[in-house]
Subunit: 315 residues, 2 copies
Amino acid sequence: MALPDPARRLLMEHLGRHSLIFSPNLLDTNLVSGQADPALAQAQIVFGQPDPRALLDSPNIEWVHLTSAGYERYDNAPFRKAMLDRGTIVTNSSSVYCEPCAQHALAMMLAFARQLPAALLNQSSSRQWPAATLRADSRLLRQQTVVILGYGHIARRLVELLAPFNLRMIVVRRNVAGDETISALPETRLAEVLPLADHVMNLLPGGEATRHYMDASRFGDMKPSAYFYNIGRGSTVDQAALLEALRAGRIAAAYLDVMDPEPLPPDHPLWSTPNCFITPHTAGGHDDEHLNLVRHFLDRLEEYESGLPLLDRIM
Amino acid sequence: MALPDPARRLLMEHLGRHSLIFSPNLLDTNLVSGQADPALAQAQIVFGQPDPRALLDSPNIEWVHLTSAGYERYDNAPFRKAMLDRGTIVTNSSSVYCEPCAQHALAMMLAFARQLPAALLNQSSSRQWPAATLRADSRLLRQQTVVILGYGHIARRLVELLAPFNLRMIVVRRNVAGDETISALPETRLAEVLPLADHVMNLLPGGEATRHYMDASRFGDMKPSAYFYNIGRGSTVDQAALLEALRAGRIAAAYLDVMDPEPLPPDHPLWSTPNCFITPHTAGGHDDEHLNLVRHFLDRLEEYESGLPLLDRIM
């Protein structure tokens, strides 16, 4: 990923004994993979979004640090095995993105509860004073049930942000570890809790295991008054099923930050579905995003050089 | 105020030895005062928004319970003295409205931080995918300074909701009592803290003492990057000064729930100011609002009959 100047400067100033090789084909986003890159052959440490196949072909690499939280391009058995066999460490940037994503998730929940989209659409059109109807439609985040799909960094932080609200929170994850700070259920029991949810917060990563995880059957398990949110990956939702559930009123509304594909084409029907709201994959964005990515990498570099365990290690 | 059936039923079922006299001229809102009402002469307890002059003329009234949190119509020296002299208790419904208002305030802060209005306006117009610009404009509620004007029930609850965010919070109130849970300053020192604020949250009540409290000079003390919010009363803001500050970029943006007058006329320039967002006095609205008003009154009635101090007593 191409870094803005201040972040690049911070990186260069703190590399110590290391020398820096910039890839010749840097992209402005960390959401797509870079091209194959001859520079990888010379590197011991890679910081960015390197092409997975090129990493497999570069046995000198000791440590790969990804500038994203998601890593489905790398999350497959052959890649994991190759890294394990040759002792290559892989870390990601979860700790940089969990705070903005959790705040984004809460922002969406509160926007629905307080009818902010309806008020804004009134302001941008007829400029009436629909106090009575909007007050009647307003809700409290209190004594409601939030079902959280996935229990990674974002979920843990969201649970902290929601702590002062008087809510029932239930996390559904592949395997319950026993260290969860709220009620946790294995995904085999999802159908039991979806009908209880006032809010279904999808924080699942992408990849084959989660493809179309939220499908027609699962949207059908939700209450007609329930809200659906997606801060994970667009591929985890069967969008045709979601569209149908929204149009038929089988769920109340959706607030989505991730789509499949991205960008979502301007004529995609989800854009114009009245109870569907879309932010264009901005949940992780924040001031100092790039500086924080570099700071996070430099902290890991310190751990690496000191022989300490690396935070956000994924392989 | 006219109560919907379920709330009216709850009230009637729990009045015990009391009998209920409905005013002949009930309104659908609790935001304006009722008319003079002959029923007041018969009543010992009044629940609603009675006309202040009629209360002065009804010496049999022992207790007045207001269905609103604001009470500027009653908040003047002659009225206070008259109630004190004859031993009339006055309570309000602060405890019903502090939760929705605090959640509304946080919703507005997060909407700005996460660029939700810009995303919604994109969705309702060109349906592009402005990920790069919106990410760059997105902010975190972290390591910022929030200046809260007024320290009543809403402020206390907002401080609790903001606790998990890593923010500096400073409350400015008429007189510092010493029991505040965050840094508190007297209003004589407002000019010292306004320049530090990333967020100025106005929770002031109406009335002569707070009229145009936020004026050109105080908006001028704010940073160009700062956000202004109003969940108090519209009269506390000099709207011409606010409009000018917004247009000149002297502050970043405003999110307002209360205006002067209400309804704000459709052609008022604040509606069309790009960095001004308006909800039509909906901050206190929530499901079960009317039931909660009745529940709150019945709890006070229990205290009243038991000779206990009444919660939310204002006079």
